[in-house]
Symmetry: C2
Subunit: 232 residues, 2 copies
DNA sequence: CGCTAGATTGATAAAGGTCAATCATTGTGG
DNA sequence: CCACAATGATTGACCTTTATCAATCTAGCG
């Protein structure tokens, strides 16, 4: 296997051009430096990586698989705040405590960093730390894009924007993997499970997408898909 | 005037305790270091700091005043993605271009940094860069909290969460300044202007808050306010 | 083969959007 | 100093959409 596939990676669109958006953010040397201070852990589907409000001793980077971050509300409802993919960072504490619960959606391979060791490593390597800074900036923008999707009123538009976000590189395959459940999607988009179901069926009925199976969506009519996505 | 009030500041809850949440993030020395590479500019209400999609040459830190960041949608609707306050950073580019338009809400005093100079300064000072990293982590969490507010269905609950967010330090005064218009609030929360208006009146009618004037809200009944905020 | 978690579908009611009219506040020019 | 214009805010009537409740269906899996 190519070593660049196994050392930790970070994915981000950097501040400045002309670096390609999909170019690896970290150099091989930086990845090795990180690998040297990381532990690789494998988690099974539904396994909880950490719980909200617990002491934050580790930061994670995903190598393989999908993880969700969520918060349980007083009412018993659950808010999914993020789906995390390979080359994403998670577990950044607030005042020493985790803010969300992180749970594996699929089997996943994670790099775990001791937070103190990582901080010292970053402080001593300005170039590497800058990569993290770019990554966080990227995450911040993504969070704001998510906010736009969630602020929409129409379930169909929300869903279209959600599918587009999962299609991480633009212009990638028409097939998008949906490792999470409909219920996860609902609590991410701020919809009821039933509305998600109705919206998926509506998109299907209109011939915009089809679902080869429940965990896969295929865009059949890209122009109309785009129209729905941007009509608001 | 205390020099710690005029050098640039950053506000963030750090990763690790026991630093107080409202303690200044930057040391005096770091502030001076930043001040040395910054230009101070004053902007008037409604003045545009930069436009979306334009070349991003500067990064800004707010010293005084309030700025909003928004995106105009194809339909003509405007999405306000953030209200920026003193000690907030904005203008972080994506691929060399600004992502949002930034416009002053009130008169404001800004520190402007040349992006290349700032990057070099950060790379050469691991401690200072780490402060920026903390700040961005903080912003990311705030963005996710905003997402929760916006994902709610009920206008009254959205508004309550919004007011709470504006009350930047918890347990601060019961009076909250609302420098932005109702229309700005609406396009931030994903509501119609009319719904914001009705929700404010509803809160007022129930005796939860009162509005000494249009740009000020006072929480009269904190327990009930909190109940509305967390009922979802 | 039947159990179970997840997903779909239908009927009803509540909530916000939209359209339209009116009111309030601020600032400007006569 | 007042009248008026312009922007922002409020209120009402009506309509569209989603949440909710409830029943049913489906796909995995032991």
């Amino acid at each position: 296997m190519d070593p660049s596939d196994i050392e930790p990676a970070l994915q981000a669109t950097p501040f400045l051009p002309p670096i390609r958006a999909d170019a690896p953010l970290l150099t091989d040397e930086q990845r090795m430096r990180l690998a040297a201070i990381a532990t690789r852990i494998r988690v099974q589907p539904r396994e909880v990586v950490y719980r909200e409000e617990s002491a934050a001793r580790s930061v994670f980077i995903i190598a393989e698989g999908v993880v969700k971050a969520f918060k349980d509300m007083p009412s018993g409802k659950r808010w999914v705040t993020a789906f995390l993919y390979p080359a994403d960072v998670f577990g950044l504490a607030e005042n020493g405590l985790y803010v969300r619960t992180a749970q594996a959606v699929t089997q996943a391979l994670l790099y775990r960093f001791d937070v103190n060791v990582l901080i010292e490593t970053l402080k001593s390597d300005g170039e590497l730390q800058f990569k993290f800074l770019c990554k966080l900036t990227h995450e911040l923008r993504e969070a704001q894009r998510q906010t736009i999707a969630i602020g929409r009123k129409d379930a169909i538009g929300k869903l279209a924007m959600f599918f587009r976000q999962l299609q991480r590189e633009p212009g990638a395959s028409r097939d998008i993997d949906l490792p999470m459940t409909r219920s996860d999607i609902a609590s991410y988009l701020g919809l009821s499970l039933e509305s998600v179901s109705r919206a998926t069926r509506a998109l299907e009925r209109r011939g915009v997408v089809c679902f080869p199976n429940r965990h896969m969506v295929r865009i059949i009519d890209p122009p109309q898909f785009e129209r729905i996505e941007s009509t608001m």
